[in-house]
Every structure is written in C-alpha cells, then in structure tokens.
C-alpha cells in the first residue's frame, strides 16, 4: 500500500496544510514546535504511526485554515527532517514544500542552561544556530545535541 493511500485515512481538508512523512511518534512535537495547541479553533487532525514505505512508520498532521510559511516549515527540520508539506486550497495541492535546515531558529527552543540570560524575564527571544549535529545557543554557547523536542518552548 502506498503512502498516498494511507493519507486518505485522515479526512481531507479544504484549505490549509498537510504535513506528511513526519517520523513516527513526532506529530505532537510538530504541533508544539509550530505553536498549534487547538485554542485557535481551527480543526487539526493527527494520524500517528501509519505504515510508510519510506519511514517504516510515519505521522501525518493536517491543519485546516492555516498555510505554513517556509520559515515555519524549516523549523520542523529539527525534529522531522523528512517531512513534506502540502499547501491545500479548495481540496487541491497547490504547492509542495520540503523542509530545509535553517541557519538559525528563534523563539522555538528553550536554552537548557538555567544561567543563560534568555531564560530570564528579558525582552529577548532564544536564538540557536543550527549545526550539522546539534544546535547552539547564540547567547551562552550551550549545545543541544540530543532530544530537541524536550527543549521546545512552551507557548
């Protein structure tokens, strides 16, 4: 069975974004990193651990009424590098995007160094430079290599 057939198990959306090929089990982290928590009223559907030819298991997220920008998509590269993004208008895919690793992610991750100025009540967003095998705080130089989802900032 192809990935395409699997997509049908989640209801189609009229306008919005379908994020496919998320590594199995990462869907909720994808929502967290995008700051989507359901409070805006838009319908969000999540399918987890669907069989996938490419990934073994994959998650799929559909967000009705919201088109993700390339910057938002790129942040996903931290936790879902294989993700593919389909922008939907009137039930048609009008654009396909791939995630690309951004040079910097801002306001997405929380610095694990409790003595870092970005963890204080200051008017500054966290900023991490993205490297080949980790991210580095641009303020205190702390490197996060493993388990990035654990460092996603709570909205």
């Amino acid at each position: 069975m192809s990935d395409n057939d699997q997509q049908l198990r989640v209801s189609k959306i009229r306008n919005g974004t379908v994020i496919d090929h998320i590594a199995g089990g990462q869907a909720l982290n994808v929502l967290a990193i995008l700051g989507i928590d359901g409070t805006s009223g838009d319908s969000v559907s999540v399918a987890m651990n669907m069989p996938s030819d490419r990934l073994g298991h994959k998650d799929v997220v559909k967000v009705e009424g919201r088109e993700l920008s390339q910057d938002e998509v790129d942040v996903l590269s931290l936790i879902a590098p294989a993700a593919t993004i389909n922008i939907i208008r009137d039930y048609d895919v009008i654009e396909k995007r791939r995630v690309e690793r951004p040079a910097v992610v801002e306001g997405v991750l929380e610095c694990p160094n409790h003595n870092c100025i970005t963890t204080e009540d200051e008017p500054v967003a966290s900023r991490f430079a993205v490297g080949d095998d980790g991210v580095r705080c641009e303020y205190c130089d702390t490197i996060i290599r493993d388990n990035l989802p654990a460092h996603i900032l709570a909205e």
Partner: protein, 304 residues
C-alpha cells in the same frame, strides 16, 4: 579595527588582536602621550556582581586616558533590586555615558545588552561565559614574554568552569599555538569548548599530570581549582594538591618558562615561585591597564 561592542574574544581576528596589543605596547611605552586623549569621555560602569580588580583596572584605564567613570554602584542600592530588566537598565544608562562596561552573573548578558544600546559596550565578564579583556591582557603578556611564534602553552587547573581558560584557548588558535590542557578528569574542557577548538583547527592535548609536558612548555597558565567543585573537602584537597606548583616543580621546566595566573591565587602557586624569573603574574595583572586603555581608545575612535 572596527567593532562597536566587545563581547567575546571569539569575535577578534588575529589582525584585531595584534592591533590592540600593538596599541597597548605604544601606550605602555609612553602613557603620558595619551593622558588627554579622551578628556570629555564618560565610561558607564555596570557591575551586577562584585569584581573589584576588573573595575579598578577599567577605572584606571579610563582616567589615564583623561576621561572619567559613572558607576551604577552595587546592585543592592540600584533599581535592579526593584526588578528592572537588564535591557531597561542599559537603555537608561547609555544616555548618560559614551561607552559601557558590563559585568553580570548570567551567560549571554553582555550580548543581549549590546543589542539594546548604540554606545560601545565591553563585556567585563558574563557568568561562566566570556571575559575578552582578560584574554587580551593574557595574550599581551604571552606575546611580551614568549612571543606568538612556535608557542607551546600549558593551561592547568579548572578547565571545566574556568571561562578565562576557554576564551584564552580559543584566542590562541588564531596564533596556531600548541596547547596542552592539564587537569583532573572531572574538570576537563567542556564539550562546547573542545568542539570550538577542533573547529578552529587547534592542536590540543589533554593530560592529567603536569610532569608529562612541563619540559616542553614556553608558558604555563595556572588557574584555581575551587573547593565547591568537589563533593567534600578531603577529595578537594587530594585533587587540588596535585595541581599546585612550587619552585622545585619548576626545576624541570625550560629556563625561560613564563608562569601566568589570572589572580587572585590561593595556594596553587607557592610563594617561592614569586622569587623566580618565571613569575609573570603580577606583570600580567598590571598589563590590564594599558590593554584596556588601548581597547577603549580604539573603540572610542582613537585610531582616526
């Protein structure tokens, strides 16, 4: 050299470093020639934690250039106590002064503060982070005594928490020094620093004993191992004792070995070393003034 703010020694190229050190050497040779250089300049001193020595050194440097300082005073007596953010504090004080010196207990504070001000800001230490003027005076002392060519340096003590060490080690990659790091295993260089040094193409070697490398060294940079890094007093004594040097230790060293220390020391360098020709740590401390004069002069446009 053109940097609005001096936040980290990492931002300085070899050319920048040489520019500051050359200028410091000119100033040290004839300080009187610079006495009226900045007679209208006010330097704002924002020390959020006590550091008497660094503060005195900056104050001396500014006054020897003909300028003056404005001091926030201790945190207890300032509006910071009332919960003002650092971003607000620096935006207020920059209106009073021509440049700022910031010492703050949190990492990244100087970088953040610099994003809110237009006057030049010098980082005088941000938590366990950077302290670039210490690095510059260390480099000045190394260059004066051992030179940068074919330099072999040993850095010993607390390499895990010692920011002085991290900053110096990084700067030494710009002069291609051979670097040996001597410490107990529990206080070796942190991952981020080792990563940076490798990225910069540094040849670094780590040791647990000084004997292994002492005879090769042109410079031995000693730092303090603090008791609070150890679970109990007896373990601290045992470990720290292995990284103390005295005049006898140095008999195995080259005749022209330069021994440095950022001071204050406790017992990691015995007083009998002071009498040897190796001891350069007081000279190193004194070098803080011409180096900071040079940096301030360059930042405030003295090169134009």
């Amino acid at each position: 050299m053109r940097h609005d703010h001096i936040i980290s020694a990492k931002q300085l190229s070899r050319g920048d470093i040489e520019t500051v050190l050359d200028h410091a050497a000119d100033i040290a040779a004839d300080p009187g020639a610079f006495a009226d250089r900045h007679s209208d300049t006010l330097l704002g001193m924002l020390f959020f934690e006590p550091s008497t020595r660094t503060k005195m050194s900056f104050t001396t440097a500014m006054k020897r250039l003909g300028g003056d300082i404005v001091d926030m005073g201790s945190v207890e007596s300032s509006s910071v106590k009332k919960g003002e953010s650092l971003a607000d504090t620096v935006r207020v004080v920059e209106g009073y002064t021509d440049a700022l010196v910031l010492r703050h207990p949190m990492e990244g504070s100087a970088k953040m503060a610099s994003e809110f001000v237009d006057v030049p800001l010098v980082n005088a230490g941000d938590g366990a982070g950077q302290h670039p003027t210490q690095t510059l005076l260390d480099l000045y002392t190394i260059r004066e005594n051992a030179g940068f060519d074919d330099l072999t340096i040993g850095i010993m003590g607390d390499l895990k928490y010692g920011r002085t060490v991290h900053s110096l080690a990084h700067a030494l990659t710009t002069v291609d020094a051979r670097q040996h790091f001597i410490s107990p295993e529990s206080l070796q260089l942190p991952r981020s620093v080792r990563y940076d040094l490798h990225e910069a193409g540094a040849g670094i070697r780590e040791h647990t004993e000084l004997d292994e490398v002492l005879p090769e060294l042109d410079v031995l940079y000693v730092t303090r191992i603090q008791a609070e890094r150890f679970p109990d007093e007896s373990e601290y004594r045992e470990v720290a004792g292995q990284y103390q040097i005295d005049a006898e230790t140095l008999e195995a060293a080259k005749d022209d070995l330069t021994v440095m220390h950022p001071l204050p020391r406790v017992d990691e360098i015995a007083h009998d070393v002071d009498e040897t020709t190796h001891a350069k740590y007081f000279q190193q401390a004194h070098n803080g003034v011409p180096v900071r004069m040079a940096l301030l002069d360059l930042m405030l446009g003295g090169d134009q």
